[in-house]
Symmetry: C2
Subunit: 493 residues, 2 copies
């Protein structure tokens, strides 16, 4: 107790019937007020989170003032369980984990690989259009690099332990930034090269406690939609504005509607916490505020929430279940230029050290993004993202040939298609394949075979019969290549 | 000396003038026979390759029976120096290394990223057409995994040292196989799923001595065109045949003509060295030989050169400079099924443990392949691979608009294009950009601007004037998308 309560601090005791609780309080006057409660789970914890101390059992529960409130919450939780990315990830074979590989190191199975491949393709195309350059950097580097970046010793406990090689100590990278800074610094840069945007879907490693790891949200390996922009102060505003537009386009394509921006500023009353470049703080913060105003987006300001190296804009995403998550980030960095001696030759031929760095990750990491996307769509991804886009089902043996023709035509158009021409009943086939959540099921029977048509069935069970094959192929091709959910062949209500 | 010469083994001494050499010999009778010699370099070595022992200086030289022979060799070496991937890699900004990242860990710069991206895209498309499934597996795993695979302890000194985490020891992977085996074993497999082909451009890590590392050929990180095929004995032959065809198609596209196949067999007189499945050895070796005969390809047999776990076919590539390299490999593996308990449910519903594994890497690793490709083409890659496909050069200020139109039309067709509309002279611009080895330079002057044409210039300096813009765009588009070098707009002699 001595180490928990300071000197000259009171403590309180509450009584509930014959139970006496040493507790900060408050307690309700009587448990009769707690009629609408439910115990939900238990877990093990260590006394003061120290694994050398006693193990305790925590009991979780919840309580609502009325029945309706409790029921609504129960419904939400049930919905959450249905949408759980771990459950859906297993059903759809998106990823696997294995004790022999270790905790927090998911393996992307073919369906997950397709999903993350589509996300990455979208990012690469978008970044290409915005003039980003791509690189691939190693997953590890020498101690000296992380000393220069400041990760060591400040962040050492968050990193994997070092590997001693014949030429020094190597660490798995926890961030891609130091590597991108070296790419920038690899040769003398001219003002003509700025803004220089260096992009990589880079995998980073974090030494989390094994007991905390699960699914795609608690992992030790994160594949980040990373990029660093090297630019002048004058260029900061338009680069940030481009990135906000990028976020808006992405979120719209992925169907995320409920989000807002959070502008994190320094605290001018507490300047010791921040890098000592007051003019840069004030100028760029004004820029960022103006961008958000001009774009007319919803945002809040958070004084004192900036990183020590610069202000940032986080994009706060609200999940269907009401959780709020920072999904994307755009951060200014006034510190990198000195740590990595980043310079450029300016218009007058002089070496200029005022290189501003912007860290940005609009699509977060593959792991987090796929987890949220899975929960958001309950696995019923927009067609362009679906691992299986069309599942063809034959009614009987004699429909195999037409089914193969349809499948082949779709495949040639770049559609991901599978055929089930087994002897099972149509009902059984539909039930089997529902788990994989194909964007469409296509049923092929007598009528379709005779007329060269298809019957298509949405995930919700609506069916369109007698669609000419060419029309279906053209329609789904347009839906996929535009990534436009409004082109869905069977609009959901 | 005691540890160098065994008991009852003689030793020999040679005398050259007053120099007495304890040497295995032979020596020439007189140094007058060595008229056409040249000393080429020196290097440091340790006595008996032990870094704790004395350092020695090695002097390298060569000697030819006549002047012509020495001169030819000198010419070859000069050519090799010109084609050196390290020199060209720097000029073309394909990759960089940095002391802070460490030895043998190259960073792919944007131009190298483009090149390896094109290779990877070609591989992914080809593997997709052959029915491969793609996965992404972590770069590290627990000790238990590598014990199961047999890498530990047999190959421990070739691996990066372990990292001790709160849940055990982790190692960077030296091979992708164990991870793919776990993917296969992730659920019960049916005979309907075989052959199952699991592909990944996976990065593996090898603990080479730092002193041996340089460029892209001596590295500690290798990104492998890897895949594992899980199949029945009956399916082995057609899978291997498909892979040989794949190698032939790849080599033809990349312009590698001088290669042959080497079939490595077990040694039936020395069966203790090999896994004890004599029937599998004999049956599959017959299959492999028959495939090579049927395909009518050039091959040799190498008795006793198989791995302990199965026979293999290596593809031996002869570089323009006469070096012979194993570029690709197709290996059967009779051991994996037991180590990883790989099974499938056969037609009769029984669990069958006779799963044959084929390891294959037709495109080697990105690092090796790009190094060879760079040397083979001296950086003048086929158009579809060139980091810069078209470099546009304006003659003067007034040609900027037409240059921008041409550039935009090319960009819209997916061509990688750059414009130099600076004030420098045409001659200077050509000299500057030659280093980047664009497939074509396009010169825009008065005539081109008036007529809406372009003048195109090959790397060899041949020039075609007055080419209609549409014709040029259509031509280069066809050349790129077919990957067909015969469609070159200006054929090289």
């Amino acid at each position: 107790m001595d180490d928990k309560i300071g000197h000259d601090v009171g403590s309180s005791v509450y009584r509930q019937g014959d139970f006496v609780d040493l507790c900060k309080g408050p307690h309700v006057p009587s448990t009769s007020h707690l009629r609408w409660f439910k115990l939900s789970s238990t877990s093990q914890a260590y006394w003061r989170a120290d694994s050398k101390r006693e193990s305790l059992t925590r009991i979780y529960g919840m309580c609502y003032p009325d029945k309706a409130g409790l029921q609504e919450r129960m419904r939400q939780l049930e919905e959450a369980a249905k949408r759980d990315h771990k459950k859906i990830g297993k059903e759809m074979e998106l990823y696997m984990t294995d004790e022999m590989i270790g905790k927090g190191l998911p393996v992307w199975l073919p369906n997950g690989e397709t999903l993350k491949g589509e996300i990455e393709k979208f990012a690469v195309e978008t970044e290409e259009a915005y003039g980003y350059l791509r690189v691939t950097t190693p997953v590890l580097g020498k101690k000296e690099l992380f000393e220069t970046s400041g990760h060591l010793p400040h962040y050492a406990e968050g990193m994997y332990p070092p590997m001693e090689m014949d030429d020094g100590e190597y660490y798995m990278k926890a961030m891609n930034c130091p590597f991108h800074h070296l790419v920038y610094g690899n040769k003398r840069r001219s003002y003509r090269e700025l803004p220089m945007r260096i992009a990589e879907y880079g995998t980073v490693y974090r030494n989390e406690l094994s007991g905390t790891l699960a699914g795609l949200l608690r992992v030790r390996m994160l594949t980040m939609n990373d990029a660093h922009i090297y630019c002048t102060l004058e260029q900061v505003a338009s680069e940030v504005a481009d990135n906000i537009r990028m976020v808006q386009d992405y979120y719209s394509a992925f169907g995320f509607d409920d989000y807002y921006f959070r502008l994190s500023l320094w605290d001018p009353d507490n300047v010791d916490k921040y890098i000592d470049q007051p003019e840069n703080w004030e100028t760029t913060q004004d820029h960022l505020r103006k961008i958000l105003d001009d774009l007319g987006v919803k945002y809040v300001e958070a004084v004192g929430e900036a990183a020590f190296y610069g202000p940032k804009i986080d994009i706060q995403f609200r999940t269907l279940l009401g959780r709020e998550e920072s999904m994307s980030t755009i951060q200014l960095d006034f510190a990198a230029k000195e740590r990595f001696e980043l310079t450029y030759t300016d218009e007058t031929g002089h070496e200029n050290g005022e290189v501003f760095v912007i860290h940005r990750a609009p699509l977060s990491t593959h792991e987090r993004f796929v987890a949220f996307l899975t929960e958001h769509w309950a696995g019923n991804f927009p067609t362009w993202l679906s691992p299986v886009q069309v599942q063809i089902i034959t009614i009987s043996e004699k429909h195999k040939v037409h089914a193969a023709t349809v499948a082949n035509t779709l495949y040639e158009s770049g559609v991901r298609v599978k055929v089930d021409d087994s002897d099972n009943t149509v009902g059984k086939k539909i039930r089997t394949h529902r788990k994989m959540r194909p964007a469409y099921m296509v049923i092929i029977g007598d009528e379709e075979t005779e007329n060269g048509t298809v019957s298509i069935r949405s995930r919700g069970g609506e069916q369109l019969n007698g669609v000419p094959m060419e029309e279906f192929v053209a329609g789904i091709y347009a839906e996929i290549t535009t990534r436009d959910r409004n082109l869905s062949l069977i609009p959901s209500e």
